[in-house]
């Protein structure tokens, strides 16, 4: 599903590579934790998958497509098949829960009938039934992240990328978030989650890829957070 072949990324302003000769392969339906200290290249990895950045060297394939050969006007099509969740939620403050989720479908031109049917389903899936009309500032952090996940998942992407989704949320609430991610994973969606949260990684027992200074130092199925130390 995601294939990195000897990928190196050097940002123009930096001499040290953000990623160095990284080769990773993530299969369809996998749940992968991406761990490592700040600046180890986790976010760069995610940005490369979205083609927000181009690799300096190496080849990236997403669902069999070579990203280097993907023309610019087709990048939106790639992104429609990838959902994204962030630490800071990135909700629209002037839209309620329903509108925030529907927005993702409106802007890719889905018919209204389809939106009316699908959005409530996804809001239920993330556990926010009955809160359609709430505005983001009336929700807790955990609830806001659920809205963000609903928005990321509403178009049924093949891949869900999560960049420290529990970073702003207390441990108790994080468990709920992880349950939603797990539920999404069970529908067959590949999930890649970058995180610092050792407790979560240890409890889930999924594949763990550890990055350090832009290199893969560990790739372990059913791993834990801190085994390398």
């Amino acid at each position: 599903m995601i294939n990195f072949d000897n990928v190196t990324k050097i940002y123009p302003s930096q001499s040290r590579p953000a990623l160095e000769s990284v080769s990773i392969s993530v299969d369809k339906g996998e749940f992968v934790f991406l761990v490592g200290p700040s600046g180890s290249g986790k976010s760069t990895f995610l940005r490369l998958v979205l083609k927000e950045e181009r690799p300096t060297d190496g080849r990236i394939r997403v669902s069999g497509r070579d990203l280097a050969r993907l023309s610019n006007w087709r990048v939106p099509m790639l992104r429609r098949r990838i959902g994204c969740v962030f630490q800071d939620f990135r909700l629209l403050q002037n839209k309620n829960v329903y509108q925030n989720v529907a927005f993702a479908l409106e802007v890719i031109g889905k018919p209204r009938r389809f939106i009316r049917k699908v959005v409530p389903e996804v809001i239920d899936l993330v556990g926010l039934e009955g809160k359609h009309e709430r505005m983001p500032d009336e929700l807790s952090g955990g609830e806001q992240q659920r809205v963000a996940m609903a928005r990321a998942f509403v178009n049924r992407p093949m891949i869900l990328l999560a960049d420290e989704p529990t970073g702003n949320i207390d441990p108790a609430t994080s468990i709920g978030i992880m349950k939603v991610l797990d539920r999404i994973n069970r529908t067959g969606t590949t999930v890649v989650m970058a995180t610092h949260d050792a407790a979560i990684v240890d409890s889930m027992r999924k594949r763990v890829i550890e990055l350090e200074y832009g290199k893969v130092v560990r790739d372990q199925s059913r791993g834990v957070y801190g085994q390398a130390y």
């Binding site: 006007w73 939106p76 990135r90 927005f103 409106e106 802007v107 890719i108 178009n155």
Partner: protein, 303 residues
């Protein structure tokens, strides 16, 4: 669905920077009005020119008892023989298309007719004050005037030779100068309008960077992301254009059409001319706003 969404986005954009939008509308309105006024001037001058085209003549005034020039004083009024001689010479010249003799009485009647709306002026002139003349039409007024004029100037019985073009030239110069001034100001304002469009769109894009960021993330096409901004610019341009249509109608009916009263000719621009100018102004306005928005967006809303 799509249309409703796009319209909603445009409305949000226009409302969020209302002051910028108003400034933009005003500047577009004024610059398009001035541009249109310039174009109406051009049309007025053209219409006047073609009106006069067939009428431009060389007038050769003959000496009368009242003539004050030295030459006429010496030789006295033109005799019939002198008149015939001049007429023969004129008709024999290859450059001359036609020669018409206008007697003093005919000249007086024509004068009364042309200034019939100004009786007090007419009453100060009596028959005999206006000299008799030859009205000469030239085949090519531009090139042949000097040859014809020099042939008859100084002949006995000839008082003065007047080229009608020299009278019209003053009028053209007046209109031409006004037109140039108006067009220059219009161009400067159009440049200001362009900068304002760019700024408005940039502000709008900045205000909505969260929305556009999410749109990019969920895979909205560039066209879909940019369309509301593009239309925002174009709609502001169109509103400005509508205002300018009103101003242009006013310019034509209150100003250009009343010019006729001060000149003894009847060339009023048709509604068709106005429509042509107005449509051209719309094209300029829409193209300017649309193209500027588009170029600005390419800089500020990259994939």
């Amino acid at each position: 669905m799509r249309a409703q969404f796009v319209l909603q986005e445009i409305w949000i954009g226009l409302r969020r920077n209302l002051t910028m939008t108003i400034a933009l509308v005003v500047v577009v309105a004024i610059s398009l009005s001035l541009l249109g006024t310039g174009l109406l001037f051009v049309k007025q001058v053209d219409a006047t020119r073609s009106y006069w085209q067939g009428k431009v003549e060389v007038s050769i005034y003959l000496c009368t008892a009242q003539s004050v020039s030295v030459q006429c004083k010496q030789n006295g009024p033109a005799t019939d023989a002198e008149r015939q001689q001049i007429q023969q010479q004129l008709t024999s010249m290859p450059q001359v298309a036609s020669v018409v003799y206008q007697s003093q009485e005919q000249a007086y009647q024509q004068f009364r007719q042309e200034f019939s709306n100004n009786p007090s002026f007419v009453s100060t002139v009596s028959q005999g004050d206006i000299p008799d003349s030859f009205q000469v039409k030239l085949k090519n007024p531009q090139a042949d005037y000097t040859a014809v004029a020099s042939a008859v100037t100084g002949k006995t019985g000839v008082d003065s030779v007047i080229d009608d073009r020299s009278i019209l030239a003053k009028f053209y110069k007046l209109l031409g100068g006004a037109r140039n001034a108006v067009v220059i100001v219009a161009v400067i304002l159009l440049i200001a309008a362009t900068l304002l469009v760019a700024n408005t769109i940039r502000l709008s894009a900045f205000n909505r960077r969260r929305e556009t960021g999410i749109m990019r993330l969920v895979g909205a096409s560039n066209f879909y992301i940019q369309l509301p901004f593009l239309l925002e610019g174009i709609i502001a341009g169109l509103i400005g254009w509508l205002v300018s249509v009103g101003l242009l109608i006013a310019v034509k009916s209150l100003w250009l059409d009343t010019l006729q009263q001060y000149f003894t000719f009847n060339v009023i621009l048709s509604a068709g001319d106005l429509v042509e100018v107005v449509i051209l102004a719309m094209c300029v306005g829409v193209l300017l706003c649309g193209a500027t928005s588009f170029l600005t967006l390419r800089r500020y809303l990259r994939v």
